[in-house]
């Protein structure tokens, strides 16, 4: 693994971390509203998978800020979206759960658990049909593996031999229900094994995520078949801002805090000679500045105009036709 990739990874993971901590603060101040789901603790999965996967279509759940930033979307427009401003990636109409940008092959931001899995299968079908070589990545939580959409998608991706990478971010909780109280098969990757190659990895370890996704990408794009990764990870924050999160023990929290993915990458990067203290300091300062700039940008951005209520419902042609 090259030095530049690790440096990039550190920058993106730190950006994601600081961005989300600040988002939490801005929520408490009342600048952000609605549901805010933070991915603090899951950065290695989001950044590792994005860097390894390249530019292929990406379908994600509602805990997607870091995915969006890792894809290259600007912290300014993402923060502005959280603030509900006109300059946000979705013009202030979508909010935290609905970040979209086809320029980055980024298709949400979906707030219905498991609903985007069939989209990924369909997108892979279309790309294959149109002769593209790149696969499709779909990320979902442990909760989604108990929904009907999940099995239907695994079956069809396999049956139709489509290049889909199913990335299960198992953070152990579907809001307040622990995975073993919701799933009969406790090792989730086994719920895919009959359909496709499936592995379980440590999602707190950037290197492991990057390697596994690189390998998976190669497989789906050369074989033209789906692949499944279960990444064990953890959200340090509760499910959303309004969840007290008191269903998790302090001991459990400590175990995972000790595995903090950002700290791990820092330590391991230095050990392997891929990162330096000086570089880290530089990045930390840069990230603080970028996030501050994003907040200022969002604060100063205008609200969408009233007429925006009725825009973007149909394409321009249809808007003319449909009164």
């Amino acid at each position: 693994m090259g030095k530049s990739i690790v440096e990039r990874a550190y920058y993106l993971m730190k950006l994601g971390r600081v961005f989300e901590e600040r988002a939490k603060e801005e929520y408490m101040k009342g600048n952000i509203a609605g549901f805010l789901h933070l991915a603090i603790g899951e950065e290695a999965v989001h950044v590792g998978a994005t860097l390894a996967f390249g530019k292929g279509d990406l379908f994600v759940h509602y805990r997607e800020h870091v995915w969006a930033l890792a894809r290259g979307m600007s912290p300014k427009t993402v923060m502005a979206e959280l603030f509900g401003k006109k300059t946000g990636v979705s013009k202030g109409k979508g909010g935290s759960m609905h970040l979209f940008d086809p320029a980055f092959n980024f298709y949400g931001g979906n707030a219905i658990v498991g609903a985007h899995l069939p989209h990924a299968v369909g997108a892979a079908y279309a790309r294959k049909y149109l002769g593209h070589s790149e696969g499709v990545l779909v990320a979902f939580g442990d909760g989604a593996t108990n929904a009907g959409n999940y099995y239907e998608s695994l079956n069809l991706a396999s049956l139709w031999e489509l290049p889909v990478l199913f990335l299960n971010e198992n953070n152990f909780y579907a809001i307040g229900t622990r995975v073993d109280r919701a799933s009969a098969v406790k090792e989730l990757y086994k719920k895919a094994k009959e359909f496709m190659p499936a592995v379980r990895i440590d999602g707190m370890n950037f290197f492991e995520v990057f390697d596994a996704v690189s390998k998976a990408k190669e497989y789906i794009e050369t074989e033209g078949k789906p692949y499944y990764i279960e990444a064990l990870t953890y959200r340090y924050e509760p499910h959303s801002m309004s969840d007290p999160g008191d269903y998790r023990s302090p001991r459990e929290l400590k175990v995972f805090h000790d595995k903090d993915p950002v700290e791990f990458l820092k330590k391991e990067g230095i050990k392997r000679g891929l990162l330096t203290q000086e570089f880290i300091k530089q990045i930390d300062e840069r990230v603080e500045k970028e996030v501050e700039e994003a907040v200022q940008f969002a604060l100063k951005s205008p609200e969408p105009e009233d007429k925006e209520l009725y825009t973007d419902i149909f394409c321009e042609v249809c808007t003319d036709v449909v009164p």
């Binding site: 609605g34 109409k93 979508g94 609905h98 707030a111 219905i112 108990n146 307040g176 009725y310």
Partner: protein, 325 residues
């Protein structure tokens, strides 16, 4: 007492009274419900009666149907109405039709509880009012609980019914402080005249009822009329008797709902009023509804997309002046 506590009290009393009553849904047990409606029931009745399910709405409703067939009285909670769409096959093809298809031999004493409506900046996939889907499905009873009294007595009534009930709540009502009025004779199929008047009949329910009541005094002052307000507890069956009696008196009908206007339940109720009371009407019926757009995240746009007390007052005043008041 909070609105959500009235629901909790109803569930608790029914579970206490009848051990075939069980609740099921996402986080309803150990966690106490995402809106804390089922708080304490897991501790009191155990995991066999406060059943945590995975995120699998199709199964939640489908399993509840099976439980009802098997001799229980299940109360399924769908976290929000937005997720009920995943269970629509079970609701429309199964729950609503089993009694009829079986020539009346299969009975489904069950309730599906769910909150709907626009809360605060939850965006398009979490801010919907979908009563139209239920009220237009033959075989379903659709109840709405607009206050603590309707929540408490209505839910108990629904659980005791031997037919499937969709029981709609509203996310913004949960933390509202209100009291349960003593109403031993509460009948959800009779609407309440919550305010008497003689010139305009306004029908509403859930959050919009509260917004309507806030607008009433301004409307009365501005138009120099008195407004009658009717609170529905059930959308289907609909208590046309109470509505009809009122419209015969006032000659003017307004319905206020939060759902988008096109194809709305509001449209259905206007049709009924027009069909039954055409010659009594002294003004065209008025629908005050949400806009025909997915709900936007931005707060300003969000408030533009639904009726508010201010908009309700303005629209009724304008309409009144336009129609000879």
């Amino acid at each position: 007492m909070l609105y959500r506590e009235a629901l909790n009290k109803a569930l608790d009393e029914m579970m206490e009274k009848d051990e075939t009553v069980v609740i099921l849904g996402e986080d309803v047990g150990f966690y106490g419900g995402n809106y804390r409606v089922t708080e304490g029931l897991y501790a009191k009745y155990g995991e066999k009666r406060a059943i945590d399910t995975p995120i699998a709405e199709n199964s939640i409703v489908g399993n509840a149907i099976g439980m009802a067939i098997g001799g229980l009285r299940p109360v399924a909670e769908i976290m929000t109405v937005n997720f009920i769409l995943i269970a629509m096959d079970q609701i429309v093809n199964q729950m609503a039709k089993l009694r009829y298809m079986s020539g009346g031999k299969v009975e489904l004493p069950m309730v599906v509880r769910t909150p709907q409506g626009v809360s605060k900046q939850l965006a398009a996939q979490h801010s919907q009012s979908l009563e139209r889907f239920f009220t237009s499905t033959p075989g379903l009873i659709t109840m709405v609980a607009s206050d603590a009294t309707a929540a408490y007595y209505g839910l108990k009534y629904a659980i005791e019914l031997d037919d499937p009930v969709i029981f709609l709540e509203h996310e913004l009502l949960y933390p509202m402080k209100m009291e349960i009025q003593e109403r031993k004779d509460f009948d959800p199929f009779k609407a309440d005249v919550v305010k008497e008047g003689k010139d305009i009949t306004v029908v509403s329910y859930l959050k919009m009822l509260h917004d309507t009541l806030q607008a009433v005094s301004v409307i009365e002052k501005e138009l120099g009329v008195s407004v009658e307000v009717i609170n529905l507890h059930s959308l289907n069956p609909l208590d046309m008797e109470t509505i009809s009696k009122s419209v015969k008196k006032t000659g003017r009908f307004v319905i206020v709902t939060e759902e988008p206007k096109t194809g709305s339940f509001a449209g259905e109720i206007v049709s009924k009023v027009t069909e039954e009371l055409f010659y009594q009407l002294d003004a065209p019926p008025l629908r005050i509804c949400g806009e025909d757009v997915p709900t936007p995240y931005n707060r300003k746009l969000e408030l533009l997309s639904i009726p508010t007390p201010d908009k309700i007052a303005k629209q009724i005043i304008y309409w009144g002046r336009e129609n000879g008041i």
